[in-house]
């Protein structure tokens, strides 16, 4: 019973706890250990009929005590001296704040104003995604520190040996300490630039969960959940940053389709064939709201905003046929001017094919292939999209060849099965 209360609290309280402790202690490892200790104690001590009135405050106080224990126990003199300042800060927090841990209404240390808590959490996220760290380290640190995933969980989500992930985290923390990477909220003039790298990390976690290129299963839902949770957190912490709101909208709207994306046998189901009644209406509603909130700001659309608008156009269509493809093509046009990547060009061509027919789509794709937009030849979705247009035009031989190239490039089991089926279909038609 108490286990489940603690489990429930974990998602909500962990990032706040770590964020505050990192600021107070200036030591990521120590903050993490202390937070973990507090949760272990909570699981141990709390009884269903006797839980603290303010569990967040209880956890914070306990974590601070454990941190002080560690600091005091630490035999390394130099480290001890360095920690004295933090120790003094912590002691004053505890002395000033608590008499009994379970005392109702005690102004506990986590009664730091809401503003301070927002700053602490932002500082933690911005620190984990600091540009002086490489992307892999940013992702791992964010999942560990902000989401509270264990090293083992992160390793398995990324199909990496646990030892490799542990080494990556240690290396990142060493750099944070030795190069003095600050865990602070960036100055206003730096905020947008720094926010970009945070949002990129969240987006990357989502796409990793969603595409799972190397996995047997198509969607690793746990990473999608973490990414959506992070995006939601950023949108709540920075409600006047349109791209933060937009990313949250995008992930909600995309993830709403998750239940329909894979069938009961684990096979990939394309957007066109999905049972739209399975889409998560609640997530779509939240995504729509978030996108509307983002649209209240500047008229210049960002990349997440446009992608969210595209996702919303799909979410609002009753069927593929009733989708406003012309509108979607125009979003892709805008997106391509902001981000002229091969992937965007490919998606745009696919939308053109729906809006104006497969021959128009094919012409768009072939124009791309000639121009130097590149890397598309090794991109499985390019060949799959092309194959699909050829199939619709009943050019079976060419379609089969294109599906085959896509098949050669995929490492994903359910995509593999899907493409094999399509090849078989082309063969029968020939």
């Amino acid at each position: 019973m108490s286990q489940s209360i603690v489990a429930q609290l974990f998602a909500e309280e962990w990032p706040k706890l770590v964020a505050t402790l990192v600021r107070e202690l200036g030591d990521v490892d120590l903050a993490e250990d202390a937070a973990q200790q507090a949760f272990i104690e909570a699981a141990d001590k709390w009884k269903p009929d006797n839980t603290p009135d303010r569990p967040g405050a209880w956890l914070m106080t306990t974590a601070r005590r454990r941190a002080i224990d560690v600091i005091r126990r630490n035999a390394d003199l130099r480290r001890k001296l360095e920690s004295m300042e933090a120790d003094a800060r912590l002691t004053s927090h505890i002395n000033g704040a608590t008499s009994g841990w379970f005392a109702a209404g005690t102004p506990g240390p986590s009664d730091d104003t809401g503003h301070q808590l927002v700053d602490d959490q932002l500082a933690l996220i911005f620190g984990c995604c600091h540009p002086s760290l490489n992307t892999e380290a940013q992702v791992a640190l964010t999942l560990r520190q902000v989401c509270g995933l264990s090293t083992r969980q992160i390793a398995s989500a990324f199909l990496t040996p646990e030892a490799t992930m542990a080494k990556r985290l240690v290396r990142a923390k060493t750099k944070i300490r030795e190069a003095a990477v600050p865990f602070t909220v960036p100055e206003a003039d730096q905020l947008e630039e720094r926010l970009e790298s945070v949002l990129a990390v969240v987006y990357l976690i989502y796409t990793e969960g969603h595409a799972a290129a190397d996995a047997a299963s198509l969607i690793r839902g746990d990473l999608c959940d973490e990414a959506r949770w992070l995006a939601d957190l950023m949108a709540n912490l920075l409600p006047d940053q349109p791209e933060a709101l937009s990313l949250s909208a995008l992930l909600d709207l995309s993830d709403a389709r998750r239940p329909a994306r894979v069938d009961a046998e684990g096979h990939l189901v394309l957007l066109a064939d999905q049972d739209r009644s399975l889409w998560d209406a609640e997530l779509i509603a939240r995504g729509r709201q978030r996108l509307a909130a983002a649209e209240r700001f500047d008229p210049l659309a960002g990349t997440y905003r446009l992608q969210a608008a595209i996702a919303l156009a799909h979410a609002e269509a009753a069927s593929e046929a009733e989708t406003d493809w012309a509108q979607i093509v125009s979003y892709y046009d805008m997106l391509y001017t902001l981000e002229p990547s091969a992937v965007v060009a490919l998606n745009r061509a696919a939308a053109v094919s729906k809006a104006k027919g497969p021959d128009a789509g094919l012409a768009t794709l072939d124009a791309l292939d000639d121009s130097a937009t590149n890397g598309l030849g090794n991109y499985r979705y390019y060949h799959a999209a092309r194959a699909d247009m050829l199939r619709q035009l009943q050019r079976w031989n060419e379609a089969e060849a294109a599906y085959r190239r896509a098949l050669d490039l995929t490492t994903n089991q359910s995509e593999h099965e899907f493409l094999s089926d399509r090849i078989e279909h082309c063969r029968q038609q020939r």
């Binding site: 002086s132 030795e178 190069a179 003095a180 600050p182």
Partner: protein, 116 residues
């Protein structure tokens, strides 16, 4: 926190000596160094002669080997350094970005190991 800013650039990447651009850049270097000094961040810094003047020394099995040239052949070579004292990596990289060589070379920011 002390940081070493190591200044690298490719041969001939900056303005050529004797040109007005070079003279203008010299003024920027002086101004930059002065800014560092006024901010109380400057611990030291010097430009170095080119790699043509470098000698690499190694002791192997008790024998001293001196070779003409730099240790490693790379496109960008070390041309100077600053040692600064600031609060954190953000401030260090901010100073690094202001170095006149940054638009055409690279500045490696390395935290100094504090001993004892």
């Amino acid at each position: 926190m002390r940081y070493m800013l190591l200044l690298y650039s490719a041969d001939g990447a900056g303005p050529a000596p004797g040109t007005p651009e070079h003279a203008a850049e010299m003024q920027e270097w002086f101004a930059y160094t002065q800014q560092l000094e006024e901010a109380g961040a400057l611990l030291g810094g010097e430009p170095l002669h080119g790699i043509d003047t470098a000698t690499t020394v190694q002791v192997r099995e008790g024998k001293t080997l001196s070779t003409d040239g730099p240790f490693a052949e790379t496109k960008e070579t070390l041309g100077g350094f600053y040692m600064i004292d600031v609060d954190n990596i953000d401030q260090a990289t901010e100073w690094a970005a202001k170095i006149p060589l940054a638009p055409y070379g690279s500045v490696e920011v390395r935290p100094v190991m504090e001993l004892g």
